[in-house]
Amino acid sequence: MKKSIASFLLGTALAVTTAGAAFAQDKTVKIGALSDQSGLYADLGGPGSTLAAQMAVEDSGLAAKGWKIDVISGDHQNKPDIGTAIARQWFDVDKVDVIVDVPNSGVALAVNNVIKEKNGVYINSGAATSDLTNAQCSPNTVHWTYDTYMLAHTTGQALVKAGGDSWFFLTADYAFGAALERDTTAVVTANGGKIVGGVKHPLNTPDFSSFLLQAQASKAKIIGLANAGGDTTNSIKQAAEFGIGKGGQKLAALLLFLTDVKAIGLETAQGLNFTETFYWDMNDQTRAFSKRFADKMKSNAPPTMVQAGVYAGVRHYLKALDALGGNPHDGVKVVDKMKSMPTEDDLFGKGEIQPNGRTIHSAYLFEVKKPSESKGPWDFYKLVGSVPGDQAFTPLAESKCALLKK
């Protein structure tokens, strides 16, 4: 009897090890694109991000090498509880390997914890909070495209240096707005400016007139918009209505996306300065990709930087899997591999992933064109400057990420 138990245990152990060996050759991958599919961030991420992930899979050429890669999508509705519930279900039931996109910093930080717990891979492109690779960094997380630190140190810094030394903030009242205000405040004060006031407004506010009047009354030189999507477009549109530009105050659109400019219209948006890390009309490669992308979009819109980041992130992820020779279904291992390889793609150019998970690539300062300068339905930006990645993003010495203390 003892002998049979022993042989049973031995047999099981053998089975487990052979199964482990089989996993190393496993070439199945499941990608979950988790985004706001129908709310205020749906156009800058949403279905376009799912498409970007699918295009990355097609362009990777891994199907020809025997890989089977699926992309599924989910709608977190900008609610952290829904986001984490979907993430759990994806890992536990659907056996998803990697979650991509996830705009809305509140949801993004909540999902970050789930992915770490489940040892999945997290390639975030849509969320802004720099905490993802700073205080709340995780060995399973890679943050592509942009973050609040970068926005503050590009747009924010440029405005302070141009003489905008007193600021009033309109801040979206959740994790993202708080992070953007905090990071921008640090830049403003470090450059000798001061913050004269601010209001926190609820997410998805249709009317900003009360807040704009307070900003106007503050006499601050710069009104910093620490909000995004529909909130930013409404702020800018209504600020023009209240004659804020004419009164000598300047708006700082700290975070502005291509789709936002479309919604505001060039008439009102012209002259705004802001920062993005991707624009469809940068070079031949970005134009070629954007054309392919727009042809597949229902709205025929070219990709936003968030969608471009999803594409680039998934491409790099698949390169890492290819280099590993199979899918180990081990998030930390895959992310370590991603960090060990330099990033390079048609959309963001050359870059790297730092040990804290932050992807470093160039950032560009743009200005919105005048209506007379625009030659097509999406011809909106003029390039006015660029900042190399190592100056745009959090220096490792300043990062509080626990992964750096190893």
Partner: protein, 287 residues
């Protein structure tokens, strides 16, 4: 102190939208006994119709103020004829669920085609610019919204409460059989009333198009607040909904000044208080 005046005025502007929308809801509830959850979606359609009239037909804002309510009103009447009329006499819940479903479908269809970030609609040239009132810079367009809404609200109140047509209408809701006996086509009158209520929503949509984005979800945010307005004012009370609409706009404006974080919730806090103290609403009669 100056800032306070400015906030009061801004509150009045937002109150104009609440008043126009809650008025339409009150008319529909008072006359048809339907809790029209599709109101926000129809408001959104008004704004979209204005956008299309301009971008496709070159028809300007002023004509849109006339045509958009008519077009959306006709759409509303079709809804009433084909669906809502079969619910007459049933529990309120049926109408609520049906219109809620319709709202989701309408919003979904628009979102599918136009995305979520919205389309630009500029302020008409005649109403561009603003004037300095000393305590604030008032955009002329906003001033226009307040004046125009007040006129429309008063006209609607007058139509229903002070004219013969209004009297028929009110009689028809009290006792349709008797009114029909006088040779009045009650179902047609009900349909037209629904069209009127929907037209008011569309009108509010056109008015808001230059201020907010023309976007599929624009009605979703506002409808919940407007329902609270109707509940506070007293379900079905025409004057109650107008006054409450403006008053809540002002209260919300003051909240934005004193404690902005609560500006989304203050209306509902008031609603709870009113329901606790006077469940029929401020001007409502006991059922």
């Amino acid at each position: 102190m100056q800032a306070l005046y400015a906030q009061l005025l801004v509150g009045l502007i937002n109150g104009s939208f609440y008043a126009l929308l809650s008025l339409g809801l009150a008319v529909i509830f008072g006359m048809l006994n339907i809790i029209n959850f599709a109101h926000g979606a129809l408001y959104m359609m008004g704004a979209f119709v204005a956008y299309f009239l301009l971008s496709l037909g070159g028809i300007n804002y002023w004509w849109a103020l006339l045509f958009a309510p008519i077009i959306v009103g006709i759409f509303g009447m079709i809804l009433e004829r084909t669906m809502l009329q079969w619910l007459a006499g049933l529990d309120h819940l049926y109408g609520l669920l049906l219109t809620f479903g319709l709202a989701l479908i309408i919003q979904g269809v628009f979102q599918n085609y136009f995305g979520s970030s919205g389309l630009p609609y500029s302020i008409p040239d005649a109403l561009k610019g603003g004037m300095n009132l000393g305590f604030m810079y008032l955009p002329i367009y906003r001033g226009w919204v307040v004046v125009f809404s007040l006129v429309v609200c008063f006209a609607t109140w007058y139509l229903i409460e002070r004219t013969r047509l209004g009297a028929y209408l009110r009689a028809a809701t009290e006792n349709p059989t008797l009114v029909r006996a006088f040779g009045i086509n009650v179902p047609r009158m009900i349909t037209l009333t629904y069209g009127l209520g929907v037209g008011l929503a569309a009108l509010a949509g056109v008015l808001s198009a230059p201020i907010n984005q023309v976007r599929p979800l624009m009605g979703e945010n506002v409808i919940i607040v407007v329902f609270a307005v109707v509940v506070i004012g007293g379900m079905g009370s025409i004057m109650g909904s107008i006054i409450t609409g403006f008053a809540l706009g002002v209260i919300e404006g003051l909240t934005k000044y004193f404690y902005p974080e609560a500006s989304n919730t203050v209306v509902f806090v008031l609603m709870v208080l009113v329901l606790l103290v006077k469940p029929t609403g401020l001007t409502g009669r006991a059922a």
